[in-house]
């Protein structure tokens, strides 16, 4: 599905990028405002690094499969 129109991989990249940014943002906010009832293994700050991984993959896919780059 790369021949014409927007690739499905672009939509997937967009989804991962937006979700990743939101999750990382929420994680960073929690670092500075720790919750009263933290989740188990809160000290690992999983939402910060997991969100960053998703955002990085999403950004890569958005760039690689951006509509303007397809011809």
């Amino acid at each position: 599905m790369h021949g014409s129109g927007i690739s499905i991989w672009f939509f997937i990249g967009l989804s991962l990028l937006v979700n990743g940014v939101l999750i990382t943002g929420a994680g960073i906010w929690e670092v500075f405002h720790p919750p009263a009832n933290p989740v188990v293994l809160f000290a690992l700050h999983a939402n910060v690094w997991w969100g960053a991984i998703l955002a990085a993959i999403g950004l890569l896919y958005c760039f690689k499969f951006a509509p303007r780059r397809e011809s």
Binding site: M1, G3, G5, I6, I8, F11, I12, L14, S15, L16, V18, N19, L22, I23, T24, G25, A26, G27, W29, E30, P35, P38, V39, V40, L41, F42, L44, A46, N47, W50, G51, L54
Partner: protein
């Protein structure tokens, strides 16, 4: 049922923050945007029902798997892992991998070369109109009913997990699916299934990673499970020597022949819900590769489904129980294991992604049901029996309306189940009656040129009726399970395995017997449909690592190694 509803009013497992709600809302916006974007690419019947037959192996393969990876599947098998231990993995490995590889290497060429639009369509070409009518009517009827049952179950889950109103969940999710499938047809369903597949992994993968960190690795996890439950819970095969030596009450013959052969091959090679995705592949090599790619990912799914169930046995401070007991005592049921693990590790943002994964799983399963129903209804019932000379545009319009009607019938079924819960058991049993005999009919049709039209139809009918007969017999006299499942201590799950096996054998025996006393088709009539009289298209020369058979061997080797490691 009312007691459960009252309980769900007062309890919820997780509370979503505003960022979680934004993530869930963004998902709905994106799937609808994909539907609207693809509207202009679904103008012909080939586009609407077959996605233009232009999908790459990766997209067809991921969609093939995603259509099966519903959220009830995720939550149900995580619950089964908590209840029965690692034995639940058999449904992902021996219960899927060999059949998917067989579909890719052996059966796909016949589906693809015949250019059929559906599995019932293949039966028409091979055995005639009567076999197609029987299979298509059963499939269409059961598909929308199953879709409704899944819809209700998902709405109930959303009520338990998030406290969402059950009507809100049913209508928002079903109308979203109806809109994007009606607009963009199968292409839209497939695009969204691939997106949903990625989101399921993104949302669920963190649970086993963090769970293993908390448990102290796999070895420590096994020790804790042996302490909290039993060491039997972490062995795949060594406890299956007797049906009383494992938590599932099943003998290895049931797993190998019932699940690994009949049920698995029946589902993965003849259930049009999944096969339809592969039929959209752009060429024969992509069509053969798609199930193999699906098999490779299917092999990894236990990591996000079974492992969380096992981890819960080790790390959760509460003991989970059956649904009835949970309702009576106010405890947590097995089915809540995945949301409980989600709530345990996932803070704001991650929780929203995890919930999105569950919703995505539900919607991909429902879109799969609806798009398969639409194709079978339009091609195999409406065009075959009601209006044979309609224009291409007419059938596309029928497909769009059929999508809406299919969803509304599913919603109606969901409300029916809400009032009469026992319907759920009956419909699920009805669906299982048909799959195993259908595999017998299709595989004989593809591999044995002597099979006749009368043999195919009567075999399918006899297999289905024998399955219904065994099920009814056990309902009337529960002790009859010792004949069906060869053990009086067999669970329903074990009984399903054996019932499938016997009904497949009945189907094959009747097909063979009737075929020998009736006249077969000529070789010319069978060309492109049957092994031995079909010339396979020459595949273009490609490097060995681009060939389906190479990757099938790789998947097989990994499959064997994993089974030995967890023996």
């Amino acid at each position: 049922m009312m007691a459960a509803m009252v309980l769900f009013e007062t309890t919820r497992l997780v509370h979503l923050s505003s960022v979680d709600v934004v993530i869930v809302a963004f998902y709905f916006v994106l799937v609808l945007a994909i539907g609207f974007y693809l509207k202009n690419r679904a103008n012909t019947a080939e586009d609407f029902f077959m996605a233009g037959r232009e999908m790459t192996a990766w997209i067809a393969g991921l969609s093939f798997l995603s259509a099966n990876l519903g959220s009830l599947e995720l939550m149900g098998w995580a619950a089964a892992a908590y209840q029965y231990g690692i034995l639940a993995t058999h449904w992902y490995w021996i219960g899927a991998i060999p059949a998917m590889l067989f579909l890719g290497l052996v059966m796909m060429p016949f589906y693809y070369i015949s250019k059929t639009h559906s599995v019932p369509g293949y039966l028409k070409l091979r055995f005639g109109e009567s076999s197609r009518t029987l299979s298509s009517v059963c499939f269409a009827f059961m598909t929308v009913l199953m879709s409704g049952i899944n819809m209700y179950s998902m709405a109930l889950v959303m009520k338990v997990v998030l406290g969402w109103d059950i009507h809100f969940s049913i209508w928002v999710s079903s109308l979203t699916v109806a809109l994007y499938v009606a607009l963009g047809g199968l292409r839209s369903a497939i695009f969204n299934e691939v997106l949903q597949f990625i989101l399921i992994w993104a949302g669920a993968l963190l649970i086993p990673i963090l769970g293993l960190i908390e448990a102290g690795g796999w070895t420590n996890l096994k020790l804790q499970i042996a302490h909290n439950a039993s060491s039997e819970y972490t062995h795949l095969w060594s406890t299956l020597g007797t049906s009383t030596g494992n938590p599932m009450g099943i003998h290895w013959t049931g797993i190998v022949f019932g699940l690994g052969f009949v049920i698995s091959f029946g589902y993965w090679t003849t259930d049009f819900l999944v096969v339809q995705r592969v039929l959209t592949a752009k060429d024969l090599r992509a069509a053969k590769m798609a199930p193999i790619i699906g098999a490779a990912f299917k092999m990894m799914v236990p990591f996000i489904v079974i492992l969380p169930g096992l981890l819960a046995l080790a790390v959760l401070p509460v003991k989970l129980m059956g649904e009835t007991q949970a309702v009576a005592t106010g405890g947590h049921s097995y089915n809540e294991v995945l949301p409980l693990m989600l709530a345990r590790y996932c803070g704001p943002g991650l929780l929203g992604l995890g919930i999105t994964a569950l919703i995505a799983g539900f919607m991909s399963g429902m879109a799969g049901n609806v798009s398969a129903f639409t194709t079978v209804w339009t091609y195999d019932i409406y065009r075959a029996l009601i209006k044979k000379d309609g224009s291409d545009e007419h059938y596309v319009n029928m497909g769009r309306w059929c999508t809406i009607v299919g969803v509304l019938v599913s919603v109606g079924t969901a409300y029916l189940v809400m009032s009469f819960a026992s319907i759920m058991d009956y419909v699920q049993a009805l669906f299982s009656f048909f799959i195993a005999p259908l595999f017998g009919t299709v595989v004989l049709g593809m591999l044995w040129k002597r099979a006749t039209s009368a043999g195919g139809f009567l075999g399918l009918l006899a297999g289905t009726l024998s399955s219904i007969g065994m099920w009814a017999g056990v309902k009337v006299d529960p002790s009859a399970i010792r004949y069906v499942a060869m053990s009086s201590s067999a669970t329903d799950m074990a009984a399903n395995m054996y019932r499938a096996l016997w009904s497949w054998i009945v189907c094959v025996l009747v097909t063979v017997a009737v075929s020998y006393v009736t006249t077969p088709k000529t070789n010319a009539e069978l060309r492109g449909l049957v092994y031995g009289v079909t010339t396979m298209p020459h595949e273009e020369p490609v490097a060995f690592y681009h060939r389906p058979v190479f990757w099938a061997v790789v998947v097989s080797v990994v499959f064997v190694i994993l089974n030995i490691l967890l023996w």
